[in-house]
């Protein structure tokens, strides 16, 4: 077993600590909260594509499934938020299983198109099933979540709450990265034939990964619903799935840092330069293209190379 490398976790911890101490501006806090949501989603996508080689263009759908399940159940039926998260996980797991079972037999383009089609169907359902989802105008009245009796209402409280979730997530990811499970996924990525002839049940491992990742994305979605108290289909469109792709690829596939780095930079830039809003898509596409054309492995790998180079010289 490889040794755990705690530097990224510690880095996150310090960053979050400083943010919690020194940033009070609600706008910035909300921006950071969005970064964390995106970081988790992009990291989930990263595990699928970067480790296991599963290209899933329907991640927004799982995010939305969590959000809508929690939103509808808590707003319309007044069910306890934590219970709705659990129900969201169950629903997502079932859906992910039904979609994953046949589609993970596909590869490459076919898999990409199948997951994309699935994402589109879910998106259309959010829009059209207005009798429960309230349609394109969005679902309102989602309550706040509370934690040991404290209602997580303000930006600051939610930031702390989400940070805890994020730190747990990152820590688990570090454990995952250094565990034999990540070896297994990488091996499947490298060659399904070779790994099956080394005794790995490829179909089972891929499906499990897909479902587990969908569930994590769903929890994230539930939290998103409780944070914004309002959800509409736009947040879970194809465009969002693609943004996650860009974040993960730009940040660096196959590393635990990639999703977070990509999410941080790509969520931050469009917000700061509000005047470039129109060019957002062009910039996203351009970043994606440049990363693939010139920086295979994304920022994380470039950074690592730089560090290695520096250390060698020293």
């Amino acid at each position: 077993m490889r040794k755990l490398n705690l530097s990224f976790i510690i880095f996150n911890l310090i960053t979050l600590f400083f943010i919690s101490r020194y940033i009070e501006n609600e706008y910035y806090l909300s921006l950071i909260i969005y970064i964390i949501f995106n970081a988790i989603n992009a990291s989930c996508f990263n595990i699928l594509l970067g480790y296991a080689g599963i290209i899933s263009l329907g991640q927004a759908a799982f995010f939305g499934l969590g959000a809508y399940t929690s939103g509808i159940l808590s707003a319309t039926y007044g069910i306890n938020p934590y219970a709705t998260i659990i129900i969201g996980i169950i629903i997502t797991a079932i859906v992910a299983f039904i979609i994953g079972y046949p589609s993970l037999k596909l590869h490459g383009h076919y898999l990409a198109m199948a997951t994309l089609g699935f994402g589109m169907i879910v998106y259309i359902c959010f829009n059209e099933m207005d009798f429960i989802t309230a349609g394109p105008s969005g679902l309102t009245g989602i309550p706040n979540i509370s934690f040991f009796g404290i209602e997580i209402g303000s930006e600051y409280k939610f930031f702390i709450f989400l940070s805890v979730f994020y730190m747990i997530f990152i820590t688990l990811m570090e454990f995952f990265d250094k565990s034999f499970i990540s070896y297994k996924l990488r091996f499947i990525h490298e060659s399904e034939n070779a790994s099956s002839s080394y005794g790995i049940n490829v179909a089972k491992v891929k499906l499990t990964t897909f479902v587990v990742i969908a569930c994590v994305t769903s929890i994230n979605g539930s939290l998103f619903a409780f944070y914004s108290n309002f959800i509409s289909p736009v947040s879970f469109s194809f465009k969002y799935s693609i943004e996650l792709v860009v974040m993960a690829v730009f940040g660096g596939l196959g590393s635990i840092t990639g999703g977070s780095i990509g999410a941080a930079i790509l969520t931050f830039i469009p917000e700061v330069f509000a005047e470039i809003e129109d060019y957002e898509m062009v910039i996203y596409g351009g970043i994606l293209a440049i990363t693939i054309l010139f920086f295979d492995g994304g920022i994380a790998k470039q950074f690592k190379r730089l560090v290695e180079k520096y250390v060698k010289i020293k």
Binding site: L49, G53, I55, P102, S103, K105, L106, H107, G108, H109, Y110, A112, M113, A114, L116, G117, F118, M120, I121, I124, C125, N127, E128, N193, F238, I242, V245, V246, V249, D278, Y279, E280, M281, V282, I283, Y284, G285, G286, L288, A289, I292, L293, D296
Partner: protein, 287 residues
């Protein structure tokens, strides 16, 4: 019967897009996620020339197509050729990147509003067997037919068409026959964009043009291509028509909002149960 006529109309569009997918797939093995954007751009080009530059349609039509062709070639030169690690995942992502850029540029240039394009022919509805069909639809169907025949002629009878087919079958064998495979790849992107733009132009009076149209059209064209068996010319046409007709049939039965969802449901079912397409034969794979 009415749904059948409207199905054929949208089906012809899907067929054109599907052929574009197939041409690129055959030469490169890439599914070009940006194919739908060329359809959108075709509509945008014709709009700009008709209403912003006041160029008559007869002139504007070929210029729009030529513009798309050039753009397709540039697209290949910029995005595809220099991908260092030509893994399937990288190629998928790079065409996604290309499609976002094209869509984003379209939004910057033409804005977010839907642009209206007037009919190219006097618009009226003609009564046919148990239903009506508009002249606009007839234009779509007619042009698609003409294009299919022209393409068939190109591939079957001309020297360059044969070179394309040779590349589809075996790139190395084609290159030792003296064919510049790289050029063929480049031109296949051009032709695919050209076909997409035709679809975009002829459909623009019916659906109008919005910068975000590309995704849907692209996906449906892809479904059509998969239905007919990826890589097969006539399969793409059949798939397109079939998809169009079944889609409008569903729309007549279910609430129309679900129309697109039905199209995707069809894709999923085909991908899951017959990934080789409705008419394709299963290939023996070797380990």
């Amino acid at each position: 019967m009415q749904f059948f006529y409207s199905g054929i109309t949208s089906g012809s569009i899907y067929a054109l897009v599907a052929i574009g997918f197939n041409i690129i797939y055959n030469t490169t093995g890439i599914i070009n996620f940006a194919q739908g954007e060329f359809v959108m751009l075709g509509g945008m080009f014709i709009y700009s020339m008709l209403y912003m530059m006041n160029i008559p349609f007869v002139l504007a039509f070929p210029v729009a197509l030529f513009g798309a062709f050039v753009l397709g070639v540039i697209f290949e030169r910029v995005f595809i050729r220099y991908v260092k690690v030509k893994s399937e995942l990288n190629l998928i992502t790079i065409t996604i990147a290309g499609s976002i850029i094209l869509r984003g540029l379209a939004m910057v240039i033409w804005g977010r509003d839907t642009l209206l394009v007037e009919s190219f022919v006097p618009s009226k509805a003609i009564n046919v067997y148990k239903g009506t069909i508009t002249t606009d639809s007839l234009v779509v169907i007619g042009i698609s037919l003409v294009i299919s025949f022209l393409l068939t002629f190109f591939f079957k009878k001309t020297k360059y068409g044969k070179a394309f087919r040779a590349c589809y079958e075996d790139k190395i064998a084609a290159s030792v026959c003296g064919i510049n495979v790289k050029a063929v790849v480049m031109f296949s992107f051009g032709i695919a964009a050209f076909l997409g733009a035709i679809a975009g132009v002829v459909v623009s009076p019916i659906t109008y043009v919005t910068y975000s149209d590309g995704i849907m059209t692209g996906l449906k064209g892809f479904s059509a291509a998969v239905m007919g068996g990826l890589g097969s010319f006539w399969g793409g046409i059949f798939g397109g028509i079939l998809l169009g007709v079944s889609e409008s049939f569903f729309a007549s039965v279910f609430p129309s909002g679900y129309k697109d969802a039905m199209a995707f449901l069809i894709i999923l079912f085909i991908l899951f149960f017959r990934p080789q397409g409705l008419f394709g034969r299963k290939k023996a794979t070797r380990v």
